[in-house]
């Protein structure tokens, strides 16, 4: 296919918007896996839970899906903190987090999925919002609001989280807990409490990510499995524990996917994306901005 400037610009813009969404679904993994060393395979299932929460409140009360996600943030935080408490008590405290902890999260993934099937059924669900459908046109560039709004909110979310992690005591303690637990204790911070707070934040982000997902595409309970590979790949590519790295990786993957889909065929997108991941790790094993 001929490379026209308009088509290339459209592909890049679409890729950036897609990357913003990828950043939102990955930020939680950046915290749980990147900073706490917890392989939370069930994170995409929590995102789907967030999507269904948005669907329920949107269809029952006509609330905007992003507003519903913000309302549900404390609920998801408490849920995340509770899940961590169980994980810590049963696995981490006994040193069993490696394999048995992974099995725990796998089980959680399927429990959430089956629970959603039982409560909501198996049909695809969607939400209604004034920005689903319209498109802003800027010259030859299309900006579907369905993608633009989640992108903007996602960047705000990641920005706020970065500020929290870098400017508050608890935030810096979260970044410190995986580096040197003992040193953190000597700074009179309780590592267990810090990890609980961090994991709660990680699951809280799933509420917003789920709202973005159901704005962008219809969801059904098992759709989370499609995102397991993607979210961990982006977290690793960006550098574990680095938000700027994660955002860069998400945008990079989104642009690569979009350009490949436009000029070489969408079938090549996953291969090219993971090729970029492998190439980056070959030259920079810690990821783009990993320490």
């Amino acid at each position: 296919m001929e490379v026209s400037l308009d088509l290339l610009l459209s592909a890049v813009v679409a890729g950036v918007l897609l990357g913003g969404f990828y950043a939102a679904v990955t930020v939680g993994i950046s915290i749980s896996f990147g900073m706490l060393d917890i392989v939370n395979i069930a994170h995409p299932a929590f995102i789907i839970l967030g999507a269904y929460a948005a669907y329920f409140l949107n269809s029952s009360f006509g609330l905007d899906p992003i507003l519903t996600a913000v309302i549900m943030l404390p609920v998801f935080y408490v849920l995340g903190a509770g899940v961590y408490q169980v994980y810590y008590a049963v696995f981490e405290r006994r040193g069993d987090e490696a394999l048995r902890g992974l099995a725990f999260f796998f089980g959680l993934l399927f429990i959430i999925e089956v629970a959603l099937v039982l409560v909501f059924g198996v049909d695809y669900r969607f939400v209604e919002a004034s920005y689903i459908g319209p498109t802003w046109r800027w010259g030859e560039i299309d900006l579907p609001l369905r993608m633009l709004v989640p992108f903007v909110v996602s960047m705000v979310l990641v920005g706020l989280l970065q500020l929290y992690l870098s400017r508050t005591f608890t935030g810096r303690a979260i970044m410190a807990v995986s580096q040197d637990r003992l040193a953190l204790q000597l700074m009179s911070a309780n590592p267990g409490r810090i990890k609980r707070v961090a994991f709660g934040i990680s699951i809280a982000t799933a509420s917003l990510a789920g709202a973005f997902l159901i704005i962008i595409q219809p969801v059904e309970p098992s759709i989370g499995r499609d995102y397991i590979g993607r979210v961990f790949a982006i977290a690793v590519l960006g550098g574990l524990g680095s938000f700027p790295g994660m955002v860069t990786a998400a945008l990079l993957l989104g642009i690569v996917e979009s350009i490949t889909a436009t000029f070489y065929g969408p079938s090549w997108s996953p291969a090219v994306s993971f090729g970029v991941l492998l190439l980056t790790l070959a030259f920079r094993p810690s990821g783009i901005m990993g320490r």
Partner: protein, 419 residues
């Protein structure tokens, strides 16, 4: 001694009681078990669940009338989770452990093909519930497809789109073909290429995409850059929604847009996409119209729709449910007429007979496909808002092909009807 005699009396009494009960248990009627896998979770579950409701309605009706051959029917089914890898195991269990008497398939090409080796090994008669060209490689003489594809499914399930599209003025010259990387879209897009070649259309875009694609905007942009007259899409429900949304947002300019988009037939997606459907030409199997008023269809839908709403299945039930019900009607008639469960006799009877069902007359060709294809192509028009009731009336889905069932002419271009 007295104690011994007392014990002997107790044992004797118990034996007499058991002997009296034996005829009751021996005479209890063994049900006729009909086994299948069905997508009750996963991507195709929306339709799978709807099909199950229709089959349950049939079973209840048959049992209310005394069953088949004086025996009640019992559905034995397992969730295939829309996962083809689970299908062989399910049918092995149904046939070797559950010892079912009859089998039908799950929903969808991907979930039928994996069952075929097991079915063929056991010599079972097998009705496929909506699959495209499943028997092409197997050439199994006891396979019957309920989807009205016609003897050459790759062509006859698709040609209606091109039949309608080629009536556009001026006559289209170019086509873009796109489909998901999966079994059904692969077959459908192969057929589209053959028909495009036959009609003298130049293929200006011919690509596939992974089903896990999130954003379809780049794909639609790339298609638009080639300026096709026609855009043929073969997709599954989530990608159907993605492509329709992207086409609407990008403002796709084409004479005709649509094709083999699975999902537009479902209540959930109709409700979600609403006015975005306007202008799209897509395949269907049944829509409420004066040309498709088959005996029994209205009564079936009257039973199905309230039950589906209560059970969280597809609320309209126009797509798979009537055909799932018809498949059971066929099976039931075959069992009653052949007076048994002999698989060879059932298959021979089904090949030789024209069945009168709620979806009209069904006659199968030698390869197990319908002798006369009946896939219709509709153009959505006049849809307002997201209310489902408008789809229950004739008018929102105008049949533009084939000629026998046509209720209106194609209106072009797509963008004009869309807006």
């Amino acid at each position: 001694m007295k104690r011994l005699l007392g014990r002997m009396r107790i044992w004797l009494g118990a034996s007499v009681m058991l002997a009296a009960l034996a005829p009751l248990t021996a005479g209890a009627v063994e049900p006729i078990k009909i086994g299948f896998g069905m997508a009750l979770t996963g991507g195709l579950a929306g339709n799978g669940k709807a099909a199950l409701v229709a089959m349950q309605i049939w079973a209840e009706e048959v049992n209310a009338k005394g069953g088949l051959l004086g025996r009640p029917v019992k559905l034995v089914y397992y969730d295939d989770q829309t996962n083809p890898a689970l299908v062989p195991g399910i049918y092995s269990k149904l046939l070797d452990i559950d010892k079912v008497d009859l089998v039908v398939s799950g929903y969808g090409t991907n979930l039928q093909a994996p069952a075929m080796p097991i079915i063929m090994q056991h010599g079972m008669t097998f009705i496929g519930l909506f699959g495209l060209d499943v028997n092409h490689q197997f050439h199994y003489d006891r396979f019957f497809q309920i989807q009205p594809n016609g003897e050459d499914p790759k062509i006859s399930s698709i040609e209606g789109f091109f039949q309608a599209a080629m009536t556009a003025k001026p006559t289209p010259k170019t086509v873009a073909i796109v489909g998901a990387d999966a079994e059904y879209p692969k077959v459908a897009t192969e057929g589209a290429r053959e028909i495009a070649k036959k009609d003298g259309l130049k293929i200006v875009y011919d690509r596939s995409y992974p089903p896990s694609t999130v954003d379809y905007t780049p794909i639609v942009h790339a298609i638009q850059a080639t300026n096709p007259d026609l855009v043929y899409v073969a997709s599954y429900p989530p990608d159907t929604a993605g492509m329709v949304r992207a086409a609407h947002e990008v403002g796709l300019k084409a004479e005709v847009f649509g094709g083999g988009m699975i999902g537009l037939q479902f209540a959930a997606l109709k409700q979600q996409l609403g006015e975005m459907l306007n202008g799209i030409v897509c395949y269907d199997m049944y829509v409420p119209s004066s040309t498709m008023n088959f005996p029994g269809i209205t009564q079936f839908l009257a039973k199905y729709q309230p039950r589906a709403k209560a059970e969280g299945a597809d609320q309209l039930g126009f797509y798979l449910p009537p055909f799932a019900y018809a498949a059971m009607q066929v099976l039931g008639q075959a069992v009653e007429t052949t007076k048994g469960l002999d698989q060879k006799k059932l298959a021979a009877y089904m090949h030789a007979t024209t069945f009168h069902t709620v979806v009209g007359d069904i006659k199968w060709a030698a390869n197990g496909e319908w002798a006369t294809p009946r896939v219709i192509f509709v153009q959505y028009r006049g849809i307002k808002g997201n209310d489902l009731e408008q789809f229950k009336k004739e008018g929102t889905a105008v049949i533009v092909a084939p000629a026998k069932y046509k209720t209106g002419d194609l209106v072009t271009p797509y963008s004009a009807v869309q807006h």
